[in-house]
């Protein structure tokens, strides 16, 4: 048996884990599932908290930045990004 990592990325509506999912991605290190851009219209979890309750471990959250003078109203990347992982036992 060996372990492989599954990575779930959720983009939420605010910095709080219990706010709605607005974007998501799933990368499966076991090679079983292959997801790609545009393949789902509904998120796997409605909030980040739901993912925690289903056993996903939070490993990274985007930090909150102060707003650079002159660029306060610029929008760019999805702002509230949360990386989760599961370690899954697989056979070689």
């Amino acid at each position: 048996m060996m372990q492989r990592q599954q990575v779930l990325v959720l983009y939420l509506a605010s910095s709080a884990l219990d706010t709605p999912t607005v974007g998501w991605a799933f990368y499966d290190g076991t090679g079983v599932e292959r997801h790609m851009a545009g393949d789902q219209d509904e998120p796997p979890y409605k909030t980040g908290l739901e993912a925690l309750m289903d056993g996903w471990r939070l490993i990274q959250a985007s930090s909150l930045h102060s707003h650079e003078q002159g660029n306060e109203f610029v929008t760019d990347y999805l702002k509230y990004e949360f990386f989760f992982e599961k370690l899954v036992e697989t056979t070689p």
Partner: protein
């Protein structure tokens, strides 16, 4: 030509696209596909592109060529740009004398043309590069044949056009609430703000999918180029906000500019409204415009 209405231009400002369903007649679609070159299903993608680049009658157009001189008379693309709805949308958004930046035939290949590879959708991206302008280019996405869900029509994200990102840096995202995928009748055209996030879908049908994209740049001011006669006299007047009663006016310019998309974060939705209002000021040529006090509140500084 049929110029755009004020609500249509406001929707373009707010959402970054306009969709013109089956606007191109079938005879032009058929002529375009003929001029594009013959389809050969067995070819691998590189071979197919290579042959089309060599054999196609679609013209080579130098960047910066005036649109009026880009396409030979009687060609499918010349006839395309004579259509009243196309001419009107182009004029309304980039003015009377736009130039061609580039055009390209986008092909999404079916499994039969991929050998052992499986069809994969294209990552999200914004075309060109980081673009901090308030001015914008438009991209016409022309679908010359029917596009079914299995053919992997272009995916795009309404309201993403004002996000300042660096091309493929957004590839990490797979799905975003509110994303749209094109399925359409032959002759459908999407008129896109150059900043909109998009990507090709995975084609799991048994046919090639073709989409011809033309990027047009303005050569002068983009303000007040549409049909402003329908602009209400009170569009500069403020209305009650937050405590608004039970009446809603969906075609009111202020409503259109402050409608959220399903993927907006709670706080950035307000920044999006502010950026839309700035773009509407640019389109209107009137820096006094505001919707729901978003900019007036910030400009009230003594």
């Amino acid at each position: 030509m049929t110029l755009l209405s004020s609500p249509d231009v406001a929707r373009f400002v707010a959402r970054g696209f306009l969709r013109l369903d089956a606007v191109v007649p079938d005879d032009i679609n058929r002529q375009f596909l003929k001029e594009m070159g013959p389809e050969t299903a067995e070819e691998m993608p590189l071979a197919h592109y290579g042959r089309l680049m060599k054999e196609s009658r679609l013209p080579l157009v130098a960047a910066g060529t005036p649109l009026s001189k880009a396409y030979p008379n009687t060609s499918a693309l010349s006839r395309f740009f004579e259509l009243e709805d196309i001419t009107g949308a182009v004029h309304s958004l980039v003015g009377a004398e736009p130039v061609v930046d580039h055009h390209f035939l986008h092909i999404t290949f079916p499994p039969a043309a991929l050998g052992e590879k499986s069809p994969v959708s294209q990552h999200w991206h914004q075309d060109s590069t980081i673009d901090p302008r308030r001015a914008f280019d438009i991209q016409l996405m022309y679908f010359p044949h029917t596009v079914t869900a299995e053919m992997g029509g272009t995916r795009y994200l309404p309201g993403s056009h004002l996000r300042r990102v660096s091309e493929a840096a957004i590839s990490r995202y797979q799905n975003i609430k509110g994303q749209q995928r094109v399925t359409c009748e032959a002759g459908t055209v999407l008129v896109m703000h150059s900043g909109i996030w998009h990507g090709g879908g995975a084609n799991i049908s048994d046919q090639h999918r073709y989409m011809f994209k033309i990027r047009l740049c303005p050569t002068g001011a983009q303000s007040s180029q549409w049909d402003l006669r329908d602009l209400p006299a009170d569009h500069l007047r403020q209305r009650p906000i937050f405590w608004v009663g039970d009446t809603r006016e969906p075609d009111h310019i202020h409503t259109i500019l402050t409608e959220p998309e399903p993927w907006f974060e709670f706080d950035t939705s307000r920044l999006e409204y502010i950026n839309r209002i700035k773009l509407w000021r640019y389109m209107l040529g009137d820096e006094s415009f505001d919707a729901d006090y978003w900019l007036t509140r910030l400009e009230n500084d003594y």
